[in-house]
Every structure is written in structure tokens, then in C-alpha cells.
């Protein structure tokens, strides 16, 4: 616990301000303008407060900071235990950074049932932050489930075409997978008698848990399946394209920006944290799955007629990088993976916003509908190019730093995976630039495109922060890596000792 006062209650504040905002929204009168302004203020407040987290984080101290640990339910001894380290503090900032932008982007696009929309959005934000800050397995599972309902309702109520199918598919995929995680958590509780992540981690490392050796592979799989569905890893990814195409813009931004990171964060925290030797044993086939994800995602994106689906498959392939980085078990690999998580959140979030803006004008995502948009909408085209370059991985922008670190880490463990991963960078360049060329360059094919209005003030305000963040992350990654490095150090500690035992170096 570092210092009384703000530090002790900051986590509770950041997590539950959006929820309080959502409840207050119930009493705000039905006028749409007030609702939108009110939710914008709430999300900005949460963002400012969350900035406090990385700034005051003591670099030297490896463990969790701003810890709060209050017993909540005595009988199965569940504690309200929250804490943040380098990785999760920045993920919280990513969430609070994207939510105000979502509120701004859906200023005009949401017409009816506005109040319910913003209530669901704020509840979703609370649940997402909760996932990243909770250290009690039960609390983690509680927030993990709590993200399902608002997201499913957002897709189901405000989406386009086949929204019900997409919402049900999304809900069921995650629900059934998380049942396995629940079974694993139950088993751990039955054997160690507590839900607390830290105590379980010590018990596991101490070897005190009886029957752990036999059950460990199943427990690892239980956790891994739930996270793999969320990432999404190759075989379990089919829900993502449907969910993205049908979700409203704000929903896709949060879905791609943060929900996918819950899966990778879970792998980093729980799979690596609790089962180091299992993760090393399974690293082989998981990395293969990640590689397939990268290449398959990129190839399918290449042929997509629908712009939003293309971006969805691009995020599958980018997340493949993250998983590759995590299971390379090297310091740089894990640093890179965390950095790609943050960078991907910013750039893909921006890409979905851009697609949303286009949808507001033409109510379609089909690339064939657009052609030569550079002439009527020059500013929009420039921004779009900037974001595309950042997500491709142009040096001096955020994509490059992350992918470079991941690839260098992967090369160290196995050169073959490194090479195959590198092709992913080329593929992403192909489909994104080709899409950009078809949409923006050449002469205007459809006459109604001539008169499309360019970005208005509100849209510019939403997009500029993401562009600025992409640039700053590209130029000065150390701001982020200083916080991430010690956290990665502490997660990697058991693995490296174990590695030295195994490899003997």
C-alpha cells in the first residue's frame, strides 16, 4: 500500500465512477443533448483520474500497487481485492481513453433509446476496468461475466442487419468458454481454500496444493480456452467478424480496443502467472495457432469486400502478434506484446471510428461503394492514411515499436516462428494499403460521393487524440515501457528460473 489518501481509493474511484454515472443517468431528463454531455463529462472524469495510475506508479516496486483488500463474503472467503501493476494500469488508461471518444463518435449516429445506450456504455466501461484491476479470482470472473451483458445488448439493440444472431453468438461463445474457467477457479478454491490471486500463486509456486500436478494441464486449458475465445485465437474466432460488422461504431471501438485485450491480459496474468511450466509445455502449439491467426487473418482480410470486416480480420492478425509475443517467454517479447496491445487498441479503435464516420454518410461499408474519396474529403483521407500507416507498423509510429519488440523476442526463442511472424507485417501492409487505394485514390466512381461532406469539428476532435497518441507512442515508447518492464520482469521471474533449470544456462 503506497501512501494513504488518494492512492488507496483511486482504484475504487476509477472503477465505479462510470457505474455511478450510469445510475445517475437514469434520473437525467430525456433530452438527448443533456444525456450525451453528461456521459461525456463522466467518461472524461474517469480518464483524468485513471491518468493518476501510471504517473504515480513506483517503477522500482515490482508487485501490485494501490492495493485494496477488504473481505467481502466470509463463507467462501471472497475478498474485494484490487491492485494494479505496470501492464494493467496502462490497460485501464486505454479503456478510459477510448470511452469518451466512443461517446463523441456516437453523438449523431444513435437516434432512439439514447439513454439506454449510454447507460450500457458506462456499465461496460466499469466492467472492463474491473477486469483489469481485480486480483481476486472471483471478482475477476464477476467482472468478466459482467462485460457480457452490456456488450451483447449493445450489439443486439443498436446494431445493423443480423444483429440478434451476432449478439447471441457473441454471448454464447464467451459464456460457454468462461464456464470452463469457472470450473478451474472452483477447483483452485476447493484445494487452496481462497480466491486471492497472490495467495494462490504462492501456494502453487510453493507446491503445497495437493493433486496440482495431475490437474494442472486441465486447469491451464480451462483458463486458456476462456481467454482464447476472447483473443480470438484461430479456431475460436468466428464470432468476431459477425460481432464487429453488426455492432454500432462505439460498440466496435470498445470491442476491438479493449475486450480483445481482456483475453491476452488474462493469458499474461493467469496462464503465465499460475501455471509457468504448463505454459512452457504448451507454448509450441499455441504459437503455431497464433501464427495461423496472423497469416490466415491477413489473407482473409485481403479478400474482404466489407471495410469493417477487413478491419476485424486485421485485429485478429494483430492479436496473433500479441499471443506470439507472450508465449516467446522473453523479456522483449512480453514487453512487445503489452505494447502491441496498447498500440492496437489506439489504432484499430481509430480505424473503426473512421469506418463509422463513413457509415454515417453512406450507410454502407462496402468498399466497392467508395472510390476516389480523397477529392471530396481531403482531411478525412489524410487522417485515414495516418492511422493506416500506424497500424501497418511504419517506424516512428506506435505499430512499429510493438511489432519490432515482439518479433525480436520471438526470433530469440525460435527463428522459424520469427520469420513467419514477420511475413504478417508484410501482409497487413498489403491489405490495408490496397483497401486505402481502392477507397481514396483515382477518380470518384459514384456521383453521390462527390458531394460527401468532410470531417466536421466534432469528428476532428474525436480523431485527433488517437493520431497524437499514435505519434507519441511511436516516438517515445519509453514512457510506456518503463512501467511495463518491471511488471513483465516479475511475471517472467518464475519462467526464467524454470527455464534456467531446464536449459541450464
Amino acid at each position: 500500500m503506497n501512501g494513504p489518501g488518494l492512492n488507496s481509493i483511486i482504484l475504487a474511484l476509477v472503477t465505479f465512477i462510470p457505474l455511478a454515472g450510469a445510475l445517475l443517468l437514469l434520473f437525467v431528463p430525456q433530452r438527448e443533448r443533456d444525456i450525451r454531455v453528461f456521459s461525456l463529462v463522466i467518461s472524461l472524469l474517469a480518464f483524468v483520474l485513471s491518468l493518476h495510475l501510471p504517473v504515480h506508479l513506483q517503477r522500482a516496486q515490482g508487485g501490485f500497487q494501490y492495493e485494496v483488500n477488504i473481505p467481502w463474503i466470509p463463507t467462501p472467503n471472497i475478498h474485494y481485492h484490487m491492485g494494479v501493476d505496470g501492464i494493467s494500469s496502462w490497460l485501464v488508461v486505454l479503456t478510459t481513453f477510448l470511452t469518451p471518444l466512443c461517446v463523441l463518435i456516437s453523438w449523431k449516429s444513435i437516434r432512439e433509446r439514447v439513454k439506454e445506450f449510454f447507460i450500457l456504455l458506462l456499465i461496460l466501461e466499469t466492467a472492463l476496468i474491473g477486469v483489469f484491476v481485480s486480483l481476486d479470482l472471483f471478482l475477476f470472473y464477476f467482472f468478466w461475466e459482467a462485460t457480457l451483458i452490456p456488450m451483447a445488448l449493445l450489439i443486439g439493440m443498436y446494431g445493423h442487419g443480423r444483429r440478434v444472431y451476432a449478439a447471441v453468438k457473441f454471448f454464447l461463445y464467451t459464456m460457454i468458454a468462461s464456464m470452463f474457467m469457472l470450473a478451474a477457479i472452483l477447483w483452485l478454491y476447493a484445494k487452496t481454500g481462497s480466491f486471492d490471486f497472490v495467495t494462490i500463486q504462492n501456494a502453487v509456486r510453493g507446491g503445497g496444493v495437493e493433486g496440482f500436478a495431475t490437474a494442472a494441464p486441465w486447469l491451464f486449458l480451462g483458463f486458456f480456452v476462456a481467454f482464447a475465445v476472447k483473443v480470438p485465437l484461430f479456431p475460436l474466432h468466428t464470432w468476431l467478424p459477425d460481432a464487429h460488422v453488426e455492432a454500432p461504431t462505439a460498440g466496435s471501438v470498445l470491442l476491438a480496443g479493449v475486450l480483445l485485450k481482456m483475453g491476452t491480459y488474462g493469458m499474461l496474468r493467469f496462464n503465465l502467472g499460475l501455471f509457468p511450466e504448463q505454459s512452457r509445455a504448451n507454448a509450441g502449439w499455441i504459437s503455431v495457432l497464433a501464427l495461423i491467426g496472423i497469416i490466415y487473418g491477413a489473407l482473409v482480410a485481403l479478400v474482404q469486400p466489407n471495410m469493417k470486416k477487413l478491419i476485424a480480420y486485421s485485429s485478429i492478425s494483430h492479436l496473433g502478434f500479441v499471443v506470439l509475443g507472450i508465449f516467446s517467454f522473453t523479456q522483449t517479447g512480453l514487453d512487445g506484446a503489452t505494447f502491441v496491445m496498447l498500440a492496437h487498441g489506439v489504432s484499430t479503435g481509430a480505424l473503426f471510428m473512421l469506418a463509422g464516420i463513413l457509415y454515417e454518410r453512406r450507410h454502407t461499408y462496402e468498399i466497392s461503394e467508395f472510390g476516389g474519396l480523397a477529392t471530396p474529403m481531403p482531411r478525412y483521407a489524410a487522417l485515414f492514411l495516418f492511422i493506416v500507416l500506424s497500424s501497418i507498423g511504419l517506424p516512428l509510429l506506435n505499430g512499429f515499436v510493438g511489432e519490432f519488440l515482439v518479433l525480436s523476442g520471438t526470433f530469440r526463442t525460435s527463428a522459424l516462428y520469427g520469420v513467419l511472424g514477420a511475413t504478417g507485417v508484410i501482409w497487413s501492409a498489403c491489405y490495408l494499403l490496397w483497401m486505402y487505394q481502392r477507397v481514396f485514390f483515382g477518380k470518384v466512381t459514384h456521383e453521390i460521393n462527390e458531394v460527401l461532406p468532410d470531417l466536421d469539428l466534432r469528428e476532428r476532435i474525436t480523431l485527433w487524440p488517437t493520431a497524437a497518441a499514435a505519434l507519441v507512442m511511436g516516438v517515445a515508447p519509453l514512457l510506456w515501457l518503463n512501467a511495463i518492464d518491471p511488471a513483465v520482469q516479475s511475471t517472467l521471474a518464475p519462467l526464467t528460473q524454470m527455464a534456467s533449470k531446464v536449459v541450464g544456462r
Partner: protein, 484 residues
């Protein structure tokens, strides 16, 4: 407890809730023909509500005088007070919901409230009786009153058919239960549970006891709608009036589970594991699969109650120390969510129970957002989403089973609750994501229903956020139960 001719005054206190309920029941019954037509429904309803609230107070008062009563027929301890409180609160909520159900369906009957109160007497008695004779008679009172209540929608043909099916299978089950009691009496020479448990714990267990337990389990399995004997549940739940179904699916089920707990654990029934294991697994799977194909909401909730009976039976297979509190907690949280769900269903069904199929529920989120929101909370609790009571109920049951390392059963349970999520989700999807078929707004929820819903929602959420207190009480009563 007096060996003398007459029981002490304190023993009358030990049956106070039953006395209060039957006095109010008789008052409602006699007043019905005396009061004139119009005002009769509301005043009788109020009297009945007063009766159930008085019974709740009587239960709290009774809880200060634990101990046996009436020559060891009745034994008041933390276990029976828990179920008394549960049954009386469920009765109060059902009476609240049926105020307006009666007017909407134009069923003009004072006996409805009388029968509910008499049924409640039977159920309360079942939880505190330790003598098989008394258990049998209490079981009969509660079953007969539910048979009649099931057939109360006299104009609808399916209602009388529902009560006929319920009656035939119910008396069939009672005959099996009786045969089990006869064999147990033959094996141990007495019908009082404490004597039976002594005999079973002491010497070699006579072979008759195995057959006796099996037959008793068959008989009670019918009443609780566990799997191999669940055929009647969907038809009866569809035919009977909705508030009655809410009553029927929670209170008598909780009372029968109390009896099962006493017989299985207190009487330390022999060879019970594989019997329960099979029934639990069967009812979970059949309940869930059956519910997947339903389009009538009441039938869907009937199959879901079969599945939940399966989850509850998983707690029976666990060790007594972990199993009993889990089972008690499960009955409490299941009662809260199911009564609430059926209260909302009874309001949506409106006159003549027309709107009962899934299509009728489309777009309800827009037509009456408040009621749809409460139904969603109950459905989420039935699925087992964390902040609701349903989650902790399943959680305790599965962790109790895990402690008795019944891993196979837990896996079936976890998979089933995953499948279960689908058909509850269909209702939520219908309500929120479909356009409403007809624009007629659903009438606003009247006072009685509003009060009932606030109570049940509060109970579901309370059990979801602070389950510690209830579970603490349950494990204390379990320890007490096991000490005898």
C-alpha cells in the same frame, strides 16, 4: 417434552405458524360466502396476506424456542425455522401476485386464498416434522391443495386436465412413498426419524432399508419433479394459473427437499450416492434439452425447474457438512427468482392467459420496460450470472460437490448451465431485440404485483451480493441437524 398426559404450553408455541395459518385459512374460507360479490376478492386477499405476514412473525417468535414438541412429532430447530420462513414468505408473495390475476381472469373465489394458506400449513409442517406419519399427512395436505389450485381456471379445459394429470401422478407417487415408509418401518420397527437413524447407524443395515429408501426417493422424486419422474411437470405448469405455478414450483418443492434432507442425511440413509448421482445427472440434462425446444414460456420455465431440481440434487450427493447448506441456499435463491419470474409471466399473460408463447414476448422491452427489466434480472439469475443469487446457489452446490470430489457430476452441471444460458437468452432476445408484434401497451403493474416484484428482486440481488449471512445460518442449522 412432557411424558405426562398433556403437552406443555411451550409446545403450542412450536406449532404457532401452522396454527396462525390455519386459523386465517378458515377465516378466509368462512367469510367468502358471507361477504357480498364485488368487494369480496380484495378483502379476502388482504386477510390472507395478513395471515401469511402473521405466520412470518410467528416463525420468528417460534425460533426462540427450539426443541421437540408433541411427543417428538415436531422438532423446531434452525433447519425448520429456515424452511418455515421460506415457505411463508413465498406464500405472501404469491398472494400479492394473485390479487390482480384474479380480477384479470375473472376467477371469483375466496377458496383460492384459503387453499393457498392450507397448502402453506402442509409445507411448513413438512419441514418441522420428524415423524414419518406427520410427514405423510403434511405431504398430502400440501399436495391436495396444489391439485385443486392447479385446476382453478375452470373455464380453460387445459386447467382441469392439468390438475387431473397432477392428481393421478401425485397419488401414484404417494403410494410409492408409503411403500417406502412401510419397508422402513419393517426394517427399523418405528416411524420416527430419530429412532430410524439410531437403528441405521448402530448395527448392520437391514436389506429392507435399502429398498425402503429407494422407494421413498422415487415417491418424493415425483413431487420434486426430478428427472425420471418429471413427465407431468410441463403439462401441469402450462395448464395451471401462473401465480399457482409460481407457488407450486417453489414452496412444496422446498418443503419436499427439506423432508429429503432429513431422510437422506439425518436418517443417514444407506447406499444413497449412486441413486442421487443418476437422478441429478438425468434431470439436469433432460430439463435443459427439453427446454431448448419449447416455444411456450410456461413450459420452458417448467423444464428449467426440472433442470434446477437436478442442480439441487447434486448437493445431495455431496458430503452432509457441505451439501446441506448448499441445498438450503439453493432452495432459497431458486424460490426468490422463480416466484418473481412467474409473477411477471402472470401479468404479461393478461386475460385468459393468451400471451404465453415466445412470440408474444417480442418487443416487450419497449412496451413495458420496467417489467421486462425485472424479468431479465430473474432470467439472469436463473442462468447464474455473478451478481445474482442464482450464481452463488450454483457456486455453493458445485464447490460442495467438488469437495466430495464428484468431478463427473460437476462437469455435467457446468455444461448444463452453459446450455441453459441459451434458452433463457432466447426470452431476453425476444424482449429486447425483436420488434413488438402488436402495439397495445401492457397495462401498468398494479400495487400488489409491484410490491411482490420489489421483494423478489431485492431477495435475488441480496443473495447475489451478500450471500454470506444466509449461508452462515444454513451451515449452522446443518451442523445442528447432523448432531442428532
Amino acid at each position: 417434552m412432557s411424558a405426562s398426559a398433556t403437552p406443555l404450553a411451550v409446545e403450542y408455541v412450536r406449532i404457532l405458524p401452522e396454527l396462525v395459518l390455519s386459523i386465517f385459512g378458515m377465516a378466509v374460507m368462512v367469510l367468502d360466502p358471507l361477504i357480498d360479490e364485488r368487494r369480496n376478492q380484495r378483502t379476502l386477499g388482504n386477510i390472507a396476506l395478513l395471515g401469511s405476514l402473521a405466520a412470518i412473525i410467528a416463525t420468528l417468535y417460534q425460533s426462540q424456542y427450539p426443541g421437540p414438541g408433541f411427543w417428538n412429532m415436531v422438532n423446531v430447530d434452525a433447519f425448520s425455522v429456515f424452511f418455515h420462513f421460506l415457505v411463508t414468505t413465498v406464500t405472501a408473495i404469491v398472494i400479492l401476485t394473485s390479487y390482480d390475476y384474479m380480477e384479470v381472469q375473472q376467477i371469483r373465489a375466496g377458496e383460492y386464498y384459503g387453499l393457498i394458506l392450507f397448502g402453506a400449513v402442509g409445507m411448513c409442517l413438512m419441514s418441522s416434522a420428524v415423524e414419518l406419519v406427520l410427514i405423510f399427512i403434511a405431504l398430502e395436505i400440501s399436495s391436495i391443495s396444489t391439485y385443486i389450485l392447479a385446476g382453478f381456471r375452470r373455464r380453460a379445459a387445459i386447467s382441469s386436465e392439468a390438475s387431473l394429470k397432477y392428481f393421478l401422478l401425485g397419488s401414484f407417487a404417494t403410494a410409492f412413498f408409503l411403500y417406502g415408509v412401510a419397508l422402513m418401518f419393517g426394517a427399523t420397527g418405528s416411524t420416527s426419524i430419530s429412532v430410524i437413524s439410531q437403528v441405521l447407524r448402530s448395527g448392520q443395515i437391514p436389506v429392507l432399508a435399502y429398498a425402503g429408501i429407494a422407494l421413498m426417493f422415487v415417491g418424493l422424486g415425483f413431487k420434486v419433479a426430478a428427472a425420471p419422474f418429471h413427465i407431468w411437470t410441463p403439462d401441469v405448469y402450462e395448464g395451471a394459473p401462473s401465480p399457482v405455478v409460481g407457488f407450486m414450483s417453489t414452496a412444496p418443492k422446498a418443503a419436499v427437499f427439506a423432508v429429503l434432507l432429513r431422510i437422506m442425511f439425518e436418517a443417514n440413509a444407506p447406499g444413497r450416492l449412486w441413486l442421487i448421482w443418476v437422478t441429478a445427472a438425468l434431470s439436469m440434462t433432460l430439463g435443459n434439452i427439453g427446454a431448448l425446444v419449447q416455444d411456450n414460456v410456461k413450459r420452458l420455465l417448467a423444464y428449467s425447474s426440472i433442470a434446477h431440481a437436478g442442480y439441487l440434487l447434486v448437493a445431495f450427493a455431496a458430503l452432509p457438512s457441505g451439501g446441506i447448506p448448499a441445498a438450503m441456499f439453493y432452495t432459497a435463491s431458486y424460490a426468490a427468482m422463480n416466484v418473481g419470474a412467474f409473477a411477471v409471466v402472470s401479468h404479461f399473460a393478461s386475460a385468459g392467459e393468451r400471451y404465453v408463447t415466445l412470440e408474444d414476448y417480442s418487443g416487450l422491452g419497449r412496451r413495458s420496460p420496467l417489467l421486462a427489466a425485472t424479468l431479465t434480472i430473474f432470467l439472469l439469475s436463473l442462468i447464474g450470472i455473478p451478481i445474482t443469487g442464482g450464481f452463488f446457489a450454483k457456486f455453493y452446490v458445485f464447490s460442495a460437490a467438488l469437495q466430495a470430489n464428484l468431478v463427473g457430476l460437476v462437469i455435467i452441471g457446468v455444461l448444463n448451465s452453459a446450455i441453459g444460458a441459451y434458452y433463457y437468452l432466447r426470452i431476453i432476445v425476444m424482449m429486447y431485440m425483436r420488434e413488438p408484434r402488436e402495439e397495445a401497451p401492457v397495462p401498468a403493474a398494479p400495487i400488489g404485483l409491484r410490491a411482490a416484484l420489489t421483494l423478489t428482486v431485492f431477495a435475488t440481488i441480496y443473495l447475489g451480493i451478500l450471500p454470506g449471512g444466509v449461508l452462515e445460518y444454513a451451515s449452522r442449522s446443518a451442523a445442528e441437524l447432523m448432531r442428532q
